[in-house]
Symmetry: C2
Subunit: 312 residues, 2 copies
């Protein structure tokens, strides 16, 4: 198993990416081989300095970097030797089994959508976020921004993909799936929800528990919460802001500590053929390590394969 890591992406690259890789190699029972993509001389120096075990890494030189604020499509086209472009090339050609970057999010999404293929039958891939539940558990909200406008059939697929992810990665047996809405009863909501509800209700591949309201996001009513990317993105960023607000106001509580989304390492793109994980720009060693762990788990558990089977 080989996992590709963009060493040039993120505010603290390549140092924190290298430290994350090192911690992964030190801590994992059966570490995958890491393919580190970036400026080779810089990486070589760090490898010596931090004594990274060289038998478990491979270097792939990338002489360009896509900056955080570059236009994604344009940058991918104009910088074929960038670490992100090379990473997706390696992924598409089968030289790595997963690809991780904390670099330009747009470029990562464009790369995931166009360099590797969507799973057979998937209308649109999706991105999700972990939601810290009040009872200590963990929920999954999707889509959180890749698809601002959705069709009912897409939400139905998000429900299946989210369900598989919750089972295989979050370890939730028979995850409860809910539809983000504005009322509890069937028939409530906007036109999209009204059309989506019957699809979810009839879907044999999920454990549908009905509509969710805003007050249910942090409660235990559902493990997998499905919505279009507009609503999901607003919920995600609002939840992220709670951590910042409690930090600024010096409100210390373990519950709000769990709103520090850096801890979760990154957002996997679901519905594509191979694991692609997008990290926060501010990712540090711990995030990079967690992203590599997540990628390994997604490969180990054959998450993509499971999704494909459930989507039939």
């Amino acid at each position: 198993m080989t996992i590709g890591l963009d060493m040039m992406g993120g505010d603290f690259a390549p140092l924190e990416a290298m430290k994350g890789a090192l911690h992964y190699l030190q801590e994992a029972d059966h570490p995958a081989t890491l393919v580190l993509v970036g400026d080779e001389p810089t990486l070589d120096e760090l490898i010596s300095e931090y004594k990274v075990p060289e038998d478990k890494i491979k270097l792939v030189h990338a002489e360009q970097v896509i900056d955080m604020h570059e236009h994604p499509t344009k940058a991918l086209k104009e910088k074929p030797k960038s670490s992100i472009a090379i990473g997706f090339h390696l992924l598409a050609s089968g030289n790595i089994d997963a690809f991780i970057s904390a670099g330009n999010t747009g470029a990562m999404l464009v790369g995931a959508l166009f360099s590797i293929k969507a799973l057979e039958g998937v209308l649109r891939p999706t991105i999700s976020t972990i939601i810290p539940k009040e009872n200590g558990g963990t929920g999954l909200l999707l889509d959180v921004g890749l698809n601002a406008d959705c069709k009912p059939e897409q939400l139905n697929q998000f429900a299946v993909m989210g369900s598989v992810f919750a089972q295989t990665i979050l370890g939730i047996e028979n995850p409860k799936v809910g539809l983000m809405n504005v009322g509890e009863e069937e028939g409530k909501g906007n036109l999209l929800c009204q059309a989506t509800y019957p699809l979810l209700k009839e879907n044999k591949h999920i454990n549908f528990v009905g509509n969710l309201e805003g007050r249910d996001v942090f409660l235990d009513k559902a493990d997998v919460m499905v919505c279009e990317g507009f609503t999901g993105n607003i919920i995600l960023k609002l939840a992220e802001s709670l951590y910042d607000i409690t930090q600024r106001k010096k409100i210390q509580h373990e519950y709000f500590d769990r709103f520090n989304f850096e801890n979760y390492g990154g957002t996997p793109v679901l519905g594509v053929n191979k694991p692609v994980i997008i990290g926060h720009g501010i990712s540090q060693a711990k995030s990079f390590k967690n992203m590599i762990v997540l990628a390994q788990k997604m490969i180990d558990k054959k998450v993509m394969q499971r999704m494909k089977e459930e989507l039939v």
Copy 2:
């Protein structure tokens, strides 16, 4: 000036409604006459018991009550002698200048939409909520659930109505208006936002500051935050749940105390000819008093008239 109050609506009616009315009459500099609608014998007893000054109140008997869980349209039709039906009758016929109830929300909305008229030119009335800003200020979010699906022209009108409300009632000069969205730049978002942005940008009646993201809801970026009722309702209920969560987890902080939406008294319906205010079912004396104060302020400041002028 006369303000109608449904004495039978809410979990603690009629006692808390009566106490709220009494506190209002005791505390207001120039109190309006209150028209108390409900079961006359019960109200008479409470008036004696609490020594409510009888020169400032009028009783209107209502022998029926619409329960919290009745179907709104059906209930209004089948219970013409209910306090809500009579209240709207008094409002439509000009016998009262505003109507307040903490009863069946759906019946209040249906009553507001069909018993009294929408302001000239208003496509759809709207309901809003107060948002506690991190800096101690107060924002306004609308629509929060009356219109789950919206057209760009509706959002443009919500922006104007919200702006007038923020100026006249919240006392915010030249309120900043923002569009709830998933990215900062013009052109971002779902199809609705993409079509709404240019309307807001060209609208001379508002101070448009651009797109907002989820993280801006509690920040100072905009005073008036505009969205369709689906997103707004989810944000509102999520915000309400934060108060409950912090209470349950014993997280004490004045900022989260401001998420106790009971304090705000009620939600006015904007875009109709006369003030209609809908209270929480759990309203107690303080909420009722605050709703009466709000109704008086809306009449005093000619909020509806101002909206009509700005919407031209």
